[in-house]
Structure formats: structure tokens, C-alpha cells
Chain length 180, copies 2
């Protein structure tokens, strides 16, 4: 679940780095403004040494109440998560917290475009998993299966090609999926 | 410039707390999904004690590359800063960094609604300062004045009333200003 330790493709980048680099590219060409949110932190102790920068001496990681990425594309509010799995045939719903689902649902209900960039690491395949498909399986998870079949993601979602610049052309997938 | 030390109105809240509480209210009534972004931090040292949470032992504050708040309202991407000044007749442009202006400009150019919630603390008055007015003065600041006259903010912006719930009804001001 921690993207930062997993090497993405054969380019020495993590999934998060590849998305960040794609966002920098999209920003530079003025196609979209999308940023990763900083990690939420609870600061307990800060020291202010003379003549130098404040130092945080004690802090803790807080659970994120929203998703990793948001921004604007073609006038639309965009909101998404990035996740990867070693699983070969399905994407486990345990990758999500209920507050992330609630957040994406609230954004979708107001007209936002919400999705997850899913990486199957065993085959180095990337997909856009639209929020509606995720929500369908999420709502059924207590009395049915606890994962989304990869076949279903292939059918309803969009497969993303690796490229050079940007490393992940996910906005092309969004155009296709949401008719933008 | 640090909102957290300034008491907002007579309710014992800082401007930031009042906006956060307003955002919680708007979220609860499903009117908008708008959040404050976490403070960006550069983590240098983390310790992982056995049987307890990871502790950040050394970290530094990074300069934010975007604005404080963003989200979705009426299908629109919303992006804003909150600032206050003790100045009585104008709002100093030194409250902004150039990357915040660049960020808001990029978002506006893609169809986003960008503004600043400005508080004049000496009179406890709140205004929505639309980005276009800010940009006009920003672009002229090297050969003209380095602040926006309060009179101009009163004329072009929208004055916000204090209320109980939410403490700052800034979305009503946005409706008015942007015809939503
Ligand atoms: Mg993530
Ligand atoms: Mg601020």
C-alpha cells in the first residue's frame, strides 16, 4: 500500500513519482493543474533556533481524510487516489478507507470526476478505475466479494499506456472515460 | 500573516478555524466539498518505536507551492487563500508569494474560481477579493503601488457577513460574485 517503496515500471520511478511528474508536465503545457496533497501531520513540538529555520521535533502521521490528488482539468474538478496491488486477478478493496470513499462520493455528487489510478505490479499494467465501479463493489463488500475483478476493471475502466513524457498519460484516459 | 495567532471576531476563533468550520458545515449539508490542504513538510528523520506509532523526529516547514484551500462547489473547481491585515485602508500585496499568484492564474485559465478571503482585523470586516482584481494590482506592483485599496475591494469584491452557522458564509458571496 505504500507506493514509495515500489519501483514503477522499468524507469526507476514509484507510481507516485510517475504521477507527480505527469502532473508537472500537464501543468507546464497548461493542460491541467493537479497536485498531490501534502501528508497530513500532527505537530506536537517545534523548536525555533536562533538564526535558522524552525525545526519540527515531534510529530505524528495523521490518517488522510480525503484523497491524494485533486485539481482542475477542462473546467472540471478532478479528484483521485493512486494505488497498486501485487494481486494478479483482482484489486482488493482493503486498499481504501471508508472516508476516502465518502469523500469521492461527495465530490462526484457535486459534479466532480473521481477515480483511482490502479497499478497491477506483477504485470506492470495501469488502469483508470472509475469511482462508480469502485462504489458498486464497495457497497456490496460486506455480503459479497471484497475485491474488484481485474476483468471488470479492464471492461469498465481504461487501460493506460506507459509513455515518456508524461510517464502516465492519464488525462487521455479521462477524456475517453468521461467524454471530455 | 500567521492566521492561527489572530482571534477572529468575538467568537474566539482564528480566521482559519472559522473557514474550516464553515467548510465542515458546507460538507455536512452537501453544498460543497472544500478542504484546507495540510502544511507541506520536509521530513528528515522518523523513528519507528516497537508497538507504537511512527514518530517524526526532525522535519522542516516547506513553502507552499499552491493555495490553502480547494475543492468543488456547484460543479466548479474552487481555489482560494485566506489572509488578514491590520492595515486600515489597503491590503498589502506582500501577503502573497508569486507562486500562489501563478497557481491561481493557472487554475483561473482552466475555468476555476479563484479568490482570497481577506479580513481587515482592525474593523473585523471580511471580503471576497476576486483573483482578477488581485492580479491587476499584482501585475502593476513593480511600477505602481504595492497594495490594493480597501475601497477597491469594497467596490469590486463582496463583503461577507459574520453568522453563526457557518461562521463565514463565503459561498453566498461566491454565488453573487460569479453568478452561480
Ligand atoms: Mg494513495
Ligand atoms: Mg493563508
Amino acid at each position: 500500500k505504500n507506493n514509495s517503496s515500489v519501483i514503477y515500471g522499468n524507469r526507476g520511478m514509484t507510481l507516485e513519482q510517475a504521477i507527480n511528474e505527469s502532473n508537472n508536465y500537464y501543468l507546464a503545457v497548461k493542460r491541467a493543474v493537479i497536485h498531490k496533497k501534502p501528508i497530513p501531520i500532527q505537530i506536537v513540538d517545534v523548536s525555533y533556533p536562533k538564526r535558522s529555520a524552525a525545526v519540527i521535533k515531534e510529530a505524528y502521521f495523521k490518517k488522510a481524510s480525503t484523497t491524494d490528488y485533486n485539481g482542475i482539468y477542462k473546467g472540471k474538478y478532478i479528484d483521485f487516489e493512486a494505488k497498486e496491488t501485487k494481486n494478479k486477478t483482482s484489486f482488493p478493496l482493503s486498499n481504501f478507507h471508508s472516508h476516502q470513499i465518502e469523500h469521492m462520493k461527495a465530490c462526484r455528487d457535486l459534479g466532480g470526476i473521481c477515480f483511482t489510478i490502479v497499478r497491477f505490479s506483477s504485470t506492470d499494467e495501469l488502469f483508470i478505475l472509475p469511482f462508480n465501479l469502485l462504489l458498486k463493489y464497495w457497497n456490496e463488500k460486506d455480503f459479497a466479494r471484497k475485491s474488484i475483478p481485474k476483468k471488470e476493471i479492464e471492461k469498465v475502466g481504461v487501460k493506460l499506456k506507459n509513455s515518456i513524457s508524461p510517464p502516465i498519460q492519464y488525462l487521455d484516459g479521462i477524456d475517453l472515460l468521461y467524454n471530455l
